[in-house]
């Protein structure tokens, strides 16, 4: 048993609890404690990725209960990829926060750690009810983090977010209850085997539970009928929190991919890949409406929040097409969109700090003090997220477009994605020219550029060219990830082997 598997959960939990007890410690001490966790998680997540890339499943049986009886953690290539995405993003988000944003609430660092614990846990667990528990942990931390800084806007957005997610949790429990009632297990691999063996008259009930799960994950991932909470919540959150939230929609997408390849995967008989037909139109509509929302956004934060919706739609389209090429393109795009949209949220905050009362409203404001640095970063972020060459967004979209078979799917997919990209470019040109060129003659006296914050933002945006440089090994990895996801007997072995990996 590889004990490193539990570290991503235990480490933030332990430090988070210490931080709760030490709520009155001085800020530097809290920052060092909190920062040391994300610093340790960086090499750890890459090491776990190296472990996972060998192709075996790593299984950690909690309390040494033999699967399927106890809860198990499972590390495969997909979980390792998500761990790396989270570790990198949280490093830069926390770096940004330690430059002053964490002083606006006493328990920021504790909540940040619990949020990380929930995210890592959701990526590692192989137990459906345990997934619910980790969802709740990351949600309750995110409720509080969203409100960090206070103010009526955040409270308004927070109330919607909390109530919608509580209803979502109720759905999740009903779905888990039905699946347990029929299959008698909560272990995902075991459940997959049993669903493959159930009689046909049980199939509608299992299918209903599966679609309930899809609704829950869709609420987290924020695709079409369920995304309306997102722009307001993300636009009102403090910058480092918004940046960290860039991974939250991906938790939903990860869960969709996990549940609908493993439990409702190729072996599930009449229920095999049942979500794809629904996800396909929803994905395209999400891209379309997200792009229109981006065009109509009144502030830079709102614009970026809608781009998160567009990227969710693009990723979902990749999952819905369901070929190995399209899913691996989506996984590559997932890394890109997580890091770049996180970086853009940080950049939007840097810009708004130099605009006084105008903040990120897209109206004429005072002249920026560092128009060249911020403008170049904005340019890099914009062409990357819009999918223009030569940055990572272009590669991701290109791979995705190439994965579509000629025919009806292509006739829908290409125009939607390409016109969505065009609208993104227009929205960004409009925002950029307003923020950087249509400025007044005066500058603010008080605003200044904090280099710690700037480096955190640069760090995330520079990952976009880095993803291009590392495209070859990364694509090899995501291809292997997808073929592993469809190698269901490998997952079934967890049950037979008794978790002694």
């Amino acid at each position: 048993m590889n004990h490193a598997l539990i570290l991503p959960i235990v480490l933030p939990m332990f430090v988070g609890s210490l931080l709760l007890f030490g709520a009155r410690l001085s800020m530097p001490v809290k920052r060092i404690m909190s920062f040391s966790v994300v610093l340790v998680m960086l090499p750890l997540s890459f090491w776990l990725m190296a472990q996972a890339s060998q192709g075996d499943l790593q299984v950690y049986a909690l309390g040494n209960w033999q699967p399927p009886f106890g809860i198990i953690l499972m590390l495969d290539r997909l979980s390792a990829l998500m761990l790396v995405a989270t570790a990198v993003l949280s490093f830069f988000a926390l770096l940004y926060a330690t430059r002053g944003d964490d002083e606006r609430g006493r328990n920021f660092h504790a909540l940040f750690q619990f949020q990380l614990m929930g995210i890592y846990g959701a990526f590692l667990t192989a137990d459906l009810f345990n997934l619910f528990v980790f969802f709740e942990i990351l949600l309750i931390a995110s409720y509080s983090l969203l409100l960090h800084g206070g103010g009526p806007d955040r409270v308004r957005a927070g109330l919607h977010y909390v109530v919608m997610n509580l209803v979502g949790s109720a759905f999740f429990l009903i779905a888990v209850g039905v699946l347990y009632g029929i299959t008698g297990t909560l272990n995902m691999a075991d459940m997959a085997q049993r669903i493959a063996a159930t009689s046909a008259d049980q199939a509608p009930l299992i299918g209903a539970a599966g679609f309930l799960l899809l609704v829950v994950f869709g609420l987290k991932a924020a695709f079409l009928p369920l995304y309306f909470w997102l722009p307001r919540a993300y636009a009102s959150a403090t910058a480092p929190v918004a940046a960290l939230f860039a991974i939250m929609t991906k938790v939903g997408l990860y869960s969709i991919l996990r549940v609908f390849t493993l439990i409702f995967g190729d072996d599930a008989g009449t229920l095999a890949n049942m979500a794809d037909d629904w996800l396909w139109p929803l994905a395209l509509l999400t891209i379309g409406l997200g792009a229109i929302g981006a065009l109509a956004a009144k502030s830079l934060h709102g614009l970026i929040a809608y781009l998160v919706v567009v990227s969710v739609g693009t990723l979902l389209a990749g999952l819905a097409i369901g070929t190995p090429e399209s899913v691996s393109a989506a996984l590559y795009y997932l890394l890109h969109s997580t890091w770049v949209s996180g970086g853009l949220f940080l950049l939007a905050d840097l810009v708004s700090r130099q605009r006084g009362v105008k903040t990120t409203e897209l109206v004429q404001g005072p002249e920026l003090q560092n128009p060249y640095i911020l403008g170049s970063l904005f340019f890099i972020g914009a062409i990357s997220i819009a999918g223009l060459p030569p940055l990572s967004g272009f590669i991701g979209k290109l791979l995705l477009l190439r994965s579509v078979e000629p025919g009806l799917q292509m006739a829908f997919m290409w125009p939607v994605v390409l016109i969505g990209g065009l609208i993104t470019v227009i929205a960004f040109s409009r925002a950029g020219s307003t923020l950087f060129w249509r400025v007044g003659l005066s500058q603010l006296d008080s605003a200044e550029l904090d280099y710690g914050r700037l480096w955190a933002c640069v760090g995330l945006l520079v990952l976009s060219p880095a993803l291009v440089g590392l495209a070859a090994p990364l694509l090899e990895y995501v291809h292997a990830t997808v073929s592993q996801l469809h190698d269901l007997p490998l997952y079934y072995q967890i049950i037979q082997a008794g978790g002694g990996a």
Binding site: V155, L159, V163
Partner: protein, 109 residues
Amino acid sequence: MEALFAAVLGILTASGVYLLLRARTFPVVMGLTLISYAVNLFLFAMGRLQTGVASVISENGKYGDPLPQALVLTAIVIGFAMTAFVVVLALRSVGETDTDHVDGQETKP
């Protein structure tokens, strides 16, 4: 017993949904509470409804499924924490926005 149980769950859920759609924070919190009761009972019923069997394990092999009971306990604790959080948030919302409408502003007549 199943029919009675199902009817109770249905009434609880329907009342919860109705209250949730009232769009005022207090009814919304009550609605969420009712829904979570219904969900907890539903989870409990997934271990099958039966009376007069041993709680965990017995010699004749007939016993209640302990796992849904554990799940319900977890769900109750989480639901309790979430309800407490929503109540605090709702109070904060009234304080910040001077209205108990969930949108933070009164709808125009």
